[in-house]
């Protein structure tokens, strides 16, 4: 299975990327955490002008490998070859001096500083060690203009949208003389337009001779944007620099999982929509949404789709009492509910997973098992005392159900990004809630695990649980939901049966270009 990149470079038609010299190469990079090897002897060559895709399942070691390239982690063995000289980076600064920059999986901006200050963080122009504000602003403006971005250099980063923040992050990576720029799942929380934009930027970068590494779980996009693809599995590079033309999604998945059968989805059950709905929302109005009426029945999975910023997350937060709504009514199983805080909703048998796992999801230093068990303390304690062994057993089995890979007794922050997301999904599944509100259930999750999670949700729904989820992936809604509401500008514009709708009609409704939705 292991392939050297040498034969590949021969296979590639002459004249394009393959002919360009290697700018940088990972040579035998190895990283071990607490005796567990997470990257083992990885050899990857990055060529100038090439977009290099890195794929693999959650926990395969993609981020760890990239972090060693960028000096975030110090390699235990191996080195980075920069045009013939060997380097072992122990700080991001050293890597940047050799031309390696990284746009992290979790954004790492300083929210209280301005755009210009963030872009030039750590390399502010200064005179007599006082920051030269005018020069700072000028250089930042020039960089922004070079890239054709529309950004105000004086804006405070905290006030920017997620995608504008991403742009700041990219500009920061490009501020120094960059030979290799690494993107770790840059589009996972982007709108469709923004991710298209980003891919254009990436292609531009490559054309101007920069080498780009792109980590992503969107295989179609990887195949679309990248020249070559490297696949990782369990810390090993199993396929190195394979030309994208010779690959397909299916082939990539096969490389990613090895010789394992991927189980298909579970079938849908017939839903009885004549009885009392599990939840019935009428005329709900709050910050960012208005006049929202919807119902979810027992055993039903309902998706809220729409564009980023349409108000879908706000609706979920309103229902769960995170930001209590201004007006409207909510009935749970026919009983009037007025959740003023999440604790009330939890008591009524609801569970919720939000979209920003770092901000309001994980307890970073607590063990993954504890992070899973904490949502439903009653399930693993008696009389206020935690039944430790039992808790660990239950949490372990739930973590398995949602296919978490990694050391679940360690702090959750040491899991890979996708595995953290899966663990959060497991938080409410010790005793499946009556109604499960999920905002972006599979963000950052690999394709194989997505199928497993979808199958799990279907199974749980068949057992009586109702799901109301927000997703930006129309395919996801079509694959897993029974019914779909399309949200635009804070209100529901279309209700459709998943079985007889398609991506185009949903997109049209989301953008407001269809007649049905407009009426």
């Amino acid at each position: 299975m292991d392939q050297l990149d040498l034969p590949n470079t021969v296979e590639v038609p002459a004249g394009d990327a393959a002919a360009s010299p290697a700018v940088l190469a990972a040579v035998g990079l190895t990283k071990t955490f607490s005796g567990i090897s997470v990257v083992d002897g990885a050899d990857v060559t990055f060529r100038a002008g090439e977009v290099h895709g890195i794929v693999g399942q959650n926990g395969a070691g993609k981020s760890s490998l990239m972090k060693m390239m960028a000096g975030v982690y110090k390699a235990d063995a191996g080195h980075v070859d920069v045009s013939g000289t060997s380097h072992v980076f122990s700080t991001p600064r050293q890597a940047r001096d050799q031309g390696v920059s990284m746009v992290a999986q979790e954004l790492s901006l300083v929210p209280a500083l301005s755009v210009a200050e963030n872009i030039l963080l750590g390399q502010q122009p200064s005179r007599a060690s006082v920051v030269d504000r005018a020069a700072l602003r000028d250089r930042a403006s020039a960089l922004i203009k070079d890239r054709g971005f529309e950004l105000d250099p004086d804006a405070i980063v905290a006030s920017l949208s997620a995608s504008d923040q991403q742009k700041v992050e990219i500009l920061r990576a490009l501020a120094s003389n960059t030979r290799l720029i690494v993107f770790d799942e840059p589009t996972s929380s982007m709108s469709i337009d923004d991710s298209r934009n980003l891919y254009d930027i990436i292609r531009d970068l490559a054309e101007s001779g920069t080498s780009v590494a792109l980590v992503s779980h969107f295989l179609e996009e990887i195949l679309d944007v990248c020249d070559v693809v490297t696949v990782m599995r369990d810390g090993h590079v199993v396929v190195a620099s394979e030309p994208a033309e010779s690959l397909s999604s299916d082939k990539l998945i096969q490389y990613m999982v090895g010789d394992v059968n991927v189980d298909g989805g579970a079938e849908r059950v017939k839903i009885d929509r004549t009885g009392t709905p599990r939840i019935s929302v009428n005329g709900l109005t709050g910050q960012g949404y208005h006049d929202v009426s919807l119902r979810v029945f027992p055993c039903e999975i309902v998706a809220l789709v729409g564009l980023v910023g349409a108000g879908r997350s706000e609706i979920l937060r309103g229902i769960f009492g995170v930001d209590p709504p201004g007006s409207g009514t909510i009935e749970i199983d026919g009983v009037q509910a007025d959740f003023r805080r999440p604790a009330d909703a939890v008591k009524a048998g609801l569970g919720m997973v939000t979209e920003s796992r770092k901000h309001d999801g994980i307890f970073p230093v607590l063990a993954t098992t504890t992070n899973v068990a904490i949502g439903q303390p009653g399930a693993t304690s008696s009389g206020g005392f935690i039944r430790k062994a039992f808790m660990r057993r239950r949490a372990t089995s739930v973590a398995m159900d949602v296919s978490v890979h990694g050391n679940i007794d360690g702090p959750i922050a040491s899991l890979s990004g996708g595995n953290q997301q899966k663990a959060l999904l497991g938080r409410w599944l010790m005793e499946p809630p009556r109604l499960y509100l999920i905002d972006e259930p599979t963000r950052g999750v690999d394709v194989v695990s997505i199928q497993q999670i979808h199958a799990l949700l279907r199974r749980l729904a068949a057992g009586g649980m109702s799901v109301l989820m927000v997703t930006s992936e129309f395919e996801e809604a079509l694959a897993v939901a029974d019914r779909i509401y399309t949200v635009r500008n804070g209100t529901i514009v279309l209700e459709s049966d998943a079985a007889d709708s398609d991506k185009e009609s949903l997109l049209a409704a989301a953008f407001g270009t269809d007649k049905k939705a407009a009426s």
């Binding site: 982690y73 369990d234 010789d259 394992v260 995170v322 309001d360 307890f363 970073p364 904490i374 050391n407």
Partner: protein, 325 residues
């Protein structure tokens, strides 16, 4: 799912080897403490005697109680800088009532601590003031109350039974030491074994996430203040019992020593991480430094300086082994 997985066994039984670094990161303070004990022990024969340790343990009671109480607060992401003042008010109340009824003095002294803890919790919850500045203020208020209660005079009493509460010996240690040990054990179990304990870690680790899983943050924080107040109240009662008096001078500066001990022991100042045993080790660490100065006959002019340097060394060592990746 992955056949070749060497490490990330999905069956939940990761083949985990504890590396030296992991152990050093977790128990660094114990190593530092052991080095200190061995070092001083080699330098002076009197250090490792039962008598010296019985004496050290007695000194640890008041600051130790404050330290274990404030540990709960720090884990929950809040500070309590009022514990020294609460100790003083409780000691005065206990001393004033001791003459009438020793039992009443105990109850009222501890009750005062709990009450003032509730006041702290109420103020922070109601005003939303940051705990650092909030309890710094109530520290003044409480000490002011102590002054009003006494007019600045020392409150003496002559009840032998109240005096004897903590002073009698049991199994080689003072009863008040046993009381401290009992409180530390109960709090330790509460933190590590109960859902309430877990809520303190959750609130300190990520308050918004805690709210979203249905934890009532203000109640949990108030509980932390009440526990800290209880510990300070108990420390006040035991101080009054030990001294035969209560005074506004009791517990001055002790709240900072207690916080220092908790942090030296390895409880994270940022919240969400820590343990009661760490506070106990931290207290003993600091007391041993002072003790060493006396036993080794070093000029006490250097004591404060050396204490600061050694504490810094212990904390830096701890940070160093933790931060390495």
């Amino acid at each position: 799912m992955t056949a070749t997985s060497t490490s990330n066994a999905p069956d939940g039984a990761p083949q985990r080897r504890w590396s030296v670094r992991d152990i050093a990161a977790k128990y660094g303070i114990l190593i530092a403490f052991a080095l200190l004990v061995i070092g001083v022990g080699l330098g002076n024969d009197l250090f490792l005697t039962a008598r010296n340790w019985s004496n050290l343990s007695d000194q640890s009671v008041a600051v130790g109680l404050l330290a274990v109480g404030v540990t709960v607060c720090i884990i929950a992401g809040i500070f309590d800088l009022s514990t020294g003042s609460i100790l003083s008010v409780s000691a005065i109340v206990a001393a004033q009532v001791a003459e009438v009824s020793p039992a009443f003095a105990v109850v009222l002294g501890i009750g005062t601590g709990i009450g003032l803890g509730l006041v702290n919790g109420g103020i922070m919850a109601y005003t939303g003031v940051n705990s650092f500045i909030g309890t710094l203020s109530t520290a003044f208020v409480f000490r002011g109350i102590a002054f009003l209660l006494t007019g600045g005079a020392i409150v003496q009493y002559s009840s032998d039974s109240f005096r004897s509460i903590g002073t009698s010996d049991f199994l080689g240690l003072k009863v008040r030491v046993w009381i401290f040990i009992a409180v530390a054990v109960v709090l330790g179990l509460m933190l590590s074994r109960t859902t309430l304990g877990r809520a303190f870690y959750a609130v300190g680790g990520n308050a918004e996430a805690a709210r979203l899983v249905g934890i009532r943050i203000t109640s949990v924080k108030t509980a932390a203040y009440v526990i800290s107040g209880f510990c300070a109240g108990l420390a006040g009662v035991l101080t009054a019992s030990k001294n035969g008096a209560g005074s506004i001078e009791n517990g001055v500066g002790l709240e900072l020593q207690a916080i220092t001990a908790a942090i030296v022991g390895g409880t994270s100042i940022f919240g969400g991480e820590g343990a009661v045993w760490r506070a106990v080790v931290g207290v003993l660490f600091i007391l041993c430094i002072g003790n060493a100065f006396i036993l080794l006959g070093i000029d006490s002019e250097y004591e404060t300086l050396a204490e600061g340097v050694l504490i810094l060394a212990a904390v830096s060592l701890d940070q160093l082994v933790r931060r390495r990746t």
